[in-house]
């Protein structure tokens, strides 16, 4: 039906309704007048006759209502009436209305926002075909795998219909204006068909492209295609330069496609040519993905992989240990599951408190409307009619609250996405979708029916006679109603206490995290990744000249106090473990040689980071390739591998060749610095001198490896480090315009990112707890002040019989405190259980932290006392005589 037709039919109905009403009036008037005329013929006077006629007829309004019922117009009619009445009632109590709608909006809005996030991040399946059949196969469930092992697994298994592998890759995109360091994957040909996603246009890789020499093709992500190729539909067949090599664009993936889902920043894919690596059982770099065969279960697949890797481990000791098959979705959302569920639970608590609050607000109001209801009942309103009216009113409130909540949810969801840490996967795909909207609608209706029915039932079951007779004076409420209201306040307090304890634990966690010593001093340090790949500086022998000059120029900039470089920056860059041998020790069994996090640093790095030297000396400008090779170790490495010895002067070797090892000498010990995880104690770490490393310096004869073509520059500044970023970039570009500079970021913000997730959890939990606290306080305040006002008469009696003010004060406060205490007890019991679920989120604080529990309980108690005291004080100000006389 179009809009005009709908309007016409509505108009007709309205017009006919008006006519029906007119005719009904006329018909009844006719009846009364005809009856009166007859009575007058029998000798009655006109006035008397009319009176008699009306008496005989009975109530015209009731009759008319019954007529409307009879012809069925009354449903809409009543609804309109109820809505009009509801709106009138609401506007007559604007504060109550505003608070109710605001409280509802808050509860519903927050719930919808969090539900949207949980839905998008946790519940929704990954955006691949039959994504629940996809798994990852990784060492320890997390670490990459070597090429030869992958090939063996692929060829020997029967549980998987397909298996694919990917290397992480970060090439420089050059040859177009402003070179850029981007992220991508080198994937086997089998990988994309396994996912079951077609490109938006172009094609996927075809068989044979992952052979060496045929691998110069690239598939772009939608984002990269948009950003760097202006969504050019003729991009297919174009050549782009990646690390100086030409790749042909063969396809563009659809919008929203990401792979791998746990490295969501990958923007392009190229074939992975294994080449000579097919025999390599070291050099673990592959992430393995597989699809379960139809009919094969995860358990079967796990058993089979365990069998294959068990055989391989016997054959090649030290490899294939603890290989774990994990469903892909679990791998993606596993780490975030607990925090999100805790947040979801918290926000549901907020909703429950919201409902309880609104419910007893309406209860109190219904009680004060008893007289109105009694009058209506006396005038002939049926019970169902009264229930309906109350329902309409609460649905109206719920609807308005829901609408406001939806608006709030839209804002809150956007805010959530904005403040969410990068560690939450898929958060960019969060939208308020129909499921969230449905959830909202359900929440609204349930809430309003829930709190709408209770007062309506109470209101409609009151004794009309009593209420009218007493003239609305009802000094004490019925026991059951009192109990219901107390129950609501108690549960509100219990819920609020649990939320506060949750928030308290997160605040303590966050404080503990802030107190963690990074080892280095992150303030006033700027870092950026400078990549030489694809530029002139990548040529053999150039880097040995370029890097020292670059550092020198940066140090000479005004405001720069120190500058250095490192291969992978702590907390932001990659982490590589590397086995090494210690001179003079027996050859360890395979897989048991000492290993350390492998860093390559230039002179100036330790000064720039202010990573304190414990003993010995740091790497100096004189440690060139001409000088003897040197390394620095961290305290942990000294303690672990040189227990009771002095490591300084000892020699280690990272060579694969045991016959003719290249020994490097330990010259210094530095303090432990955080590595890739803020809360994990640093592992042994070894810093090599960059200018002595042939691979890193790209000397003639060095292996060409992607990860050796960039350096992370760090500079300590006198003032705001971010202000110097462009000056440092310009300094680098003054050597070569083709240098790709990326990830310009201050060390402070890297540290902040490392604790972003707990901060996010703390922030949300604190907001929820604050809302809960306010709601619970408003709740107890409202209930006590209402109860006190209902007891005005009783208080008057007590005081005129000689009760002192403090006795009365105690009486009123006691009533409230009993509820608060019961709530606190329940809350503590609940928190004891719930806090255990939070264990995974906590750091440096026990789930049952006595300080948190005690301070929250005491704090809440104080709030409760204040909330009870205010109305109690008003109650004792009552003049006993006035209290007795009133009503």
């Amino acid at each position: 039906m179009n809009l005009a037709a709908r309007f016409k039919s509505w108009m007709r109905a309205m017009l006919r309704r008006a006519r029906t009403e007119r005719e009904m009036d006329e018909e009844m008037r006719f009846h009364l007048e005809a009856r009166a005329a007859d009575l007058m013929r029998n000798g009655l006077a006109k006035q008397e006759a009319l009176r008699q006629a009306r008496l005989e007829f009975g109530g015209t309004e009731t009759t008319k209502n019954q007529c409307r019922d009879a012809i069925g117009v009354s449903f809409l009619e009543t609804l309109m009436q109820d809505i009009r009445h509801g709106v009138r009632t609401m506007t007559r109590a604007p504060v109550f209305t505003f608070i109710t709608i605001a409280v509802l909006a808050l509860g519903i809005g927050a719930n919808t926002a969090i539900f949207s996030v949980v839905d998008a991040v946790l519940l929704r399946p990954l955006a691949y075909q039959d994504s629940d059949r996809l798994v990852t196969i990784l060492m320890n469930g997390d670490n990459p795998v070597s090429v030869a092992n992958y090939i063996d697994w692929r060829d020997q298994n029967r549980s998987f219909s397909a298996m694919g592998a990917a290397d992480y890759w970060s090439p420089n995109l050059t040859g177009i204006d402003s070179p850029e360091h981007i992220y991508g994957l080198k994937v086997t040909q089998s990988l994309f068909p396994m996912l079951g996603i077609d490109p938006m246009f172009g094609r996927l890789f075809v068989e044979g492209e992952d052979k060496e020499g045929a691998d110069r093709e690239v598939i772009l992500s939608y984002k990269l295609w948009q950003r760097r190729f202006s969504s050019d539909s003729n991009v297919l067949g174009k050549q782009i330069l990646l690390d100086g090599n030409a790749y042909v664009v063969v396809g563009v993936m659809p919008r929203g496609f990401t792979f791998a889902p746990f490295w969501a920043n990958g923007e392009l894919w190229v074939p992975n040519a294994f080449g000579s690596r097919i025999h390599n059982r070291g050099g673990n770099s592959l992430r393995i993905f597989a699809r379960l065969k139809d009919g094969a279960s995860l358990t079967q697949a796990r058993a089979e992989i365990a069998g294959i890797t068990g055989r391989l481990e016997q054959q090649f000791p030290g490899t294939n240990r603890n290989v774990v098959v994990t469903p892909l979705k679990e791998k993606v959302v596993g780490p975030i599951e607990t925090p999100l569920l805790v947040l979801l639970a918290a926000v549901i608590f907020v909703l429950l408190i919201t409902c309880a609050n609104v419910a007893h607000m309406l209860l109190a109001r219904a009680a004060s409307r008893q007289k109105e209801v009694a009058v209506r009942a006396a005038l002939g309103a049926r019970r169902g009619r009264i229930v309906r009216q109350f329902l309409t009113e609460s649905l109206l409130l719920g609807g308005l609250g829901g609408a406001a909540g939806l608006a709030l949810a839209a804002i809150a969801t956007r805010a959530l996405i904005a403040i969410s840490p990068d560690s939450i996967p898929r958060v960019q795909s969060v939208t308020i979708d129909w499921r969230a909207a449905l959830f909202l609608a359900g929440a609204t209706i349930l809430t309003s029916v829930g709190f709408g029915l209770a007062p309506a039932r109470q209101a409609s079951s009151i004794d009309v006679n009593d209420t009218l007779k007493e003239g609305g004076r009802s000094q004490s409420e019925s026991k059951s109603r009192n109990r219901l209201r107390s129950l609501l306040v108690i549960s509100e307090f219990a819920l609020a206490l649990m939320l506060l304890i949750g928030a308290g634990l997160m605040i303590r966690t966050f404080a503990a995290l802030q107190a963690v010593d990074a080892g280095f001093n992150p303030h006033n340090v700027i870092s950026m990744v400078v990549s030489v790949a694809g530029s002139r500086e990548a040529d053999p022998g150039r880097r040995a000249v370029f890097y020292p000059h670059l550092l020198e120029r940066v140090r000479s900039l005004p405001g720069v106090q120190a500058a250095g470089g490192i291969n992978h920056l702590p907390l932001a860059g990659d982490i590589w473990g590397w086995p090494f041998a210690i001179e003079g020790r027996p050859k360890p069994r395979p897989g048991e040689s000492p290993s350390a996090v492998y860093r390559i640093v230039t002179p100036g790095y330790f000064e720039a980071m202010r990573l304190p030297l414990i003993r010995g000396r740091v790497i100096a400008d004189t440690d060139t390739s001409a000088a003897p090779a040197v390394v620095i170790i961290n305290e942990r490495a000294a303690a672990e591998y040189w227990t009771g010895e002095d490591p300084i002067g000892k020699r280690v070797s990272f060579d694969d060749d045991p016959k003719n090892p290249t020994w490097v000498t330990v010259i210094g010990i530095v303090k432990n610095a955080k590595q890739d995880n803020w809360t994990v104690e640093p592992a042994p770490e070894i810093y090599l001198a960059a200018f002595q490393n042939h691979d890193f310096m790209g000397d003639a004869g060095a292996r060409a490896a992607d990860h050796e073509t960039y350096i992370t520059l760090v500079a300590r500044t006198a003032g705001d480090p971010a202000a110097l970023a462009s000056a440092i970039k310009e300094a680098a570009w003054s050597f070569d315009r083709n240098l790709a500079i990326s990830q310009v970021v201050t060390m402070d913000s890297i540290v902040a990112d490392a604790t972003a997730q707990p901060r996010f959890e703390m922030l949300l939990l604190t907001i929820f707890a604050a809302v809960a606290l306010v709601l619970a306080s408003v709740g107890i305040y409202g209930v006590i002040s209402y109860a006190a006002s209902r007891r005005t008469h009783e208080i008057g009696v007590r005081m005129s019989l000689g009760a002192t003010r403090s006795q009365v004060l105690l009486l009123v406060v006691q009533q409230g405190m009993r509820m608060a205490l019961a709530g606190c007890m329940l809350g503590i019991a609940g928190a004891l259980v719930l806090a255990r679920l939070m264990t995974k989120l906590l750091y440096g604080v026990h789930p049952v932290d006595p300080i948190t529990f005690a301070s929250v309980a005491i704090g809440l108690g104080i709030v409760a006392i204040v909330a009870c005291y205010l109305p109690a004080r008003r109650a004792i100000r009552v003049n006993p005589v006035a209290a007795l006389r009133c009503e």
């Binding site: 009904m24 006329e26 009856r35 109530g59 007529c67 019922d69 009879a70």
Partner: protein, 113 residues
């Protein structure tokens, strides 16, 4: 005048159908007609007449139109429809059967058993 009888539950509709089957009537006329035929022995709540009329019209047993009353006032006249006529017949039959059965029971004497 004899004591008035209260109307049995559910019989008003039947009486209204019968009243308007004789000739079209307005609401007050329906009341008068029933009282006249019953010789004033039935007590009818005047207000209850109209919801019944509206219901019957809504169900299609009777229909109404505005006309002139005896004293030249505009009044709404109800008359029986074809469906209403059938309805009245079946209701009458049912009622007669019912009264026969009930009367039979109430008049039963020990000898008949």
């Amino acid at each position: 005048m004899d004591k008035q009888l209260e109307l049995l539950q559910g019989t008003l509709d039947m009486l209204i159908l019968k009243a308007v089957s004789l000739s079209p009537l307005h609401g007050y006329g329906v009341l008068l007609r029933i009282q006249q035929i019953s010789k004033e022995r039935l007590e009818i709540q005047q207000g209850s007449l109209y919801p019944a009329l509206y219901r019957l019209e809504h169900q299609g047993w009777i229909t109404s139109e505005w006309g002139e009353s005896e004293n030249n006032r505009r009044a709404r006249y109800y008359r029986l429809t074809a469906a209403g006529k059938r309805r009245l017949q079946s209701e009458t039959k049912r009622w007669n059967e019912m009264t026969t059965v009930i009367a039979g029971i109430l008049n039963a004497t020990p000898e008949e058993l």
